[in-house]
Symmetry: C2
Subunit: 257 residues, 2 copies
């Protein structure tokens, strides 16, 4: 069982889109997947059409008053499960900040799932921030999967996330943490910028960058408004093809020797 | 003098692009403008080509150890000034959380500027979050300017920001706060979704929505990599035209009777 934080503090780079669609593509390949929505916006929750159920969230489980096991909901998709989120989750940051173990609350909350091996992978959909929910995700994760848009600010953001990972490692909260993989998203063939950003990222991060590049497609931007993953909404299109290819590459990197 | 928070907790919707380009367009129209970069990513700082100067940031001023006046830097653009940001700013959230006045630190920091009327408008470029830096911006602002992408998640985000504004008003931190204006960004004529989102937003928020719609253009996504505003990088293009039109509308709404 591996815990993967899908994180990039830069906003709108495709974190939720990757969590939901990679999650579905892995479930399609017989993996048992839990997506934990750590963003008070609850986008992963609504992308799976489950916003009515957002009454459940991590708040009490993070404070230790309830078990995370009671917050896990099945989705329409076989082998894909979700811990939903809603706006109340935003209030937990101030509460956690005052606790002595404010960096490792999530790690403790998730530890029960490490022991019972129900899931092959737990995907943490992180909010766009450098706040407490994000640092908790980094402290709990085995590795980071970082989506990055093929645009300028995203490139700058990558340098910053490397620094944040070093800070989390240095703090002792998680000395195993590393950037496991980088996924290029929203590639737009019409602009030179996309090609330049991909070349730059491959030069600096070489083997960490997945070969699969997710194109910018209208279908991917439409799918969430129907509460469907791209594999449900447009199974034969370029978006679904890219996320299935990403799932294959992901499993190759994580298959136990 | 008015303090405008450019805020939307949804990531990647064009907050920084709007802060920088509206700021430049207003300065071009003889307004004296201060942009305060409240995002530890420091995107407004790098969009203005000032990342080398990011050693200055709000950290000490927010804790009351220094005055914000010492953090204000001139930009290349006449009448446009900046308080830069860098990664250290992320650490201030935990510090502020422990203070009794954790909601109004920024408001106190900015109060010196309210008294001396150097600036016509102060634009706060907010991080994509519901954390402490964001709530501080909402408590300090006279009104909110909310950029929203013409995509599904952005629409959902608008409902949430209305709730956050009500919470800030209810907390007593700022009972004047209101959503002043909504700007539609990254409009892409190729998709039906863009048109639907614009129609939906206009139906729910009527007079608050600016008539100007900012189109998705390659030039706008390229400009930050040169550290230039769109008015410098592609002054005759659709992006610069849209932000100049937005500045005209903005001034009409804010001209004193
Ligand atoms: N490859 C793609 N092609 C077209 N649109 C996309 C693609 N990936 C994501 N989108 C759209 O772009 C927007 C941003 O994506 P998403 O919400 O997944 O990013 P995020 O990083 O999770 O954002 P946040 O920082 O707010 O959490 C969404 O409206 C989404 O539907
Ligand atoms: N109208 C537009 N056309 C094309 N690209 C745009 C447009 N507006 C913004 N962008 C690009 O989209 C990305 C997101 O924009 P921006 O960084 O301004 O959003 P933001 O809301 O400030 O993000 P964050 O939530 O991370 O602070 C950037 O790479 C930017 O260059
Ligand atoms: Mg997201
Ligand atoms: Mg920004």
């Amino acid at each position: 069982m591996k815990i993967i934080a899908i994180a990039n503090q830069k906003g709108g780079v495709g974190k939720t889109t990757t969590a939901v669609n990679l999650g579905h593509a892995l479930a399609e390949k017989d993996q048992s997947i839990l997506i934990v929505d750590l963003d008070p916006q609850g986008n992963a929750t609504s992308a799976l059409g489950m916003q009515e159920l957002e009454s459940e969230n991590l708040y009490e489980a993070l404070l230790g008053d309830e078990s995370i096991v009671d917050k896990i909901l099945p989705t329409r998709i076989e082998r894909l499960f979700l811990v939903p989120a809603n706006l109340d989750l935003a209030g937990v940051e101030v509460e956690i900040a005052r606790m002595s173990d404010h960096l490792t609350r999530l790690s403790k909350t998730l530890s029960i799932l490490r022991d019972d091996q129900t899931f092959d992978f737990i995907l943490l959909d992180c909010p766009p921030s450098l706040g407490i929910l994000m640092t908790n995700a980094l402290a709990a994760a085995d590795e980071l999967l970082t989506p990055i848009q093929c645009e300028y600010f995203a490139l700058e953001g990558l340098v910053k996330i490397v620094r944040v990972v070093e800070q989390v490692r240095g703090s002792g909260a998680n000395d195993q943490l590393e950037i496991g993989g980088i996924v290029m998203t929203m590639f737009d063939g019409r602009t030179n910028l996309s090609g330049q950003v991909v070349a730059d990222v491959r030069e600096h991060f070489a083997g960490k960058v997945y070969r699969t590049v997710v194109p910018r497609t209208v279908r991917l931007s439409e799918a969430p408004s129907f509460g469907k993953t791209i594999l449900e909404y447009d199974s034969g299109g370029a978006g679904a093809y890219a996320y299935r290819a990403l799932a294959r590459e992901f499993l190759k990197r994580h298959s136990s020797p």
